[in-house]
Subunit: 134 residues, 2 copies
DNA sequence: CTACAACTTAAAGTCGACTTTAGGTCAAGC
DNA sequence: GCTTGACCTAAAGTCGACTTTAAGTTGTAG
């Protein structure tokens, strides 16, 4: 497949594919002259990268997780990530519940509502930044 | 309170406070000469901003939600955000379950595992980018 | 065989949320 | 009254993940 085919099949732009290659996330199978050509298995690797982005991994982290040979992931890192996701989900649920309450609470303003006050404190304390762009 | 007090109490840097002011998120109560001084209620507003960041709002969105007078939030936007959070949570749970399975699946590599394959497709299709940095 | 669409590279630009820097002002303690 | 540390502003820098641009090369349809 040439780069345009991979782009179409993956939904990524050619420039993104070159960028991923530069970062060491994918490799082309070779060149026809200057032009890259790819093995279709690159699509599986890209799907995996996409998945990683969705769970909040940076490209660098994904690079470390993707085993060099073949298309696979480090299981230990996967388990760690699962635990992290559990925490994130719990946080988001707490916030969701607080927002839901605040939106329906009859207090004159949200800061007058004790449930909302707990929520604000929760966000201030318990939640560490979910610093990612996915 | 002067800017250093607000910084200490909120955990934000003075530069961040000036930046938020520039964006119209907070206001100082006035100046002593050049120096800003703040009403303590700014801390509540900052807590609210912090909360907003945690649910994935941009500073601009937060600016639109914070009612100009006093410290409060637009309830309709709050409800909408609650619904959005519900979706995000559901997505994250699906991914979490998939990762959990993949990490413990006996298939030789994850791509050989049908559950993992479904997960990869899910991430590719159903999940729209959670494009935020918190 | 030629035209040209599609590829190539390196480098610079973008976006959001800040942080840092450079250069200047000033309230307060000695 | 003088020093100094904390404050001020405007502008530039940073980070991650790309995208865009500028300038050049080439496989391939006609």
């Amino acid at each position: 497949m040439d780069i345009a085919d991979v782009a179409k099949a993956s939904g990524l732009k050619p420039s993104t594919l070159r960028y991923y290659e530069q970062k060491g996330l994918i490799r082309s199978a070779g060149r026809h002259g200057l032009r890259r050509y790819y093995d279709p298995s690159v699509l599986e690797k890209l799907a995996l990268i996409n998945l990683g982005r969705h769970v909040g991994l940076s490209l660098d982290e994904i690079g470390r997780m993707l085993l060099p040979q073949g298309v696979d992931i480090d299981r230990a890192l996967l388990i760690a990530k699962t635990a992290e996701l559990d925490k994130q989900i719990a946080s988001m649920q707490a916030i969701r519940d607080g927002l839901h309450h605040a939106a329906h609470c009859p207090a004159p303003n949200h800061l007058a509502c004790p449930t909302f006050q707990r929520l604000v404190k929760l966000a201030g304390k318990r939640l560490k930044p979910l610093t990612h762009k996915i």
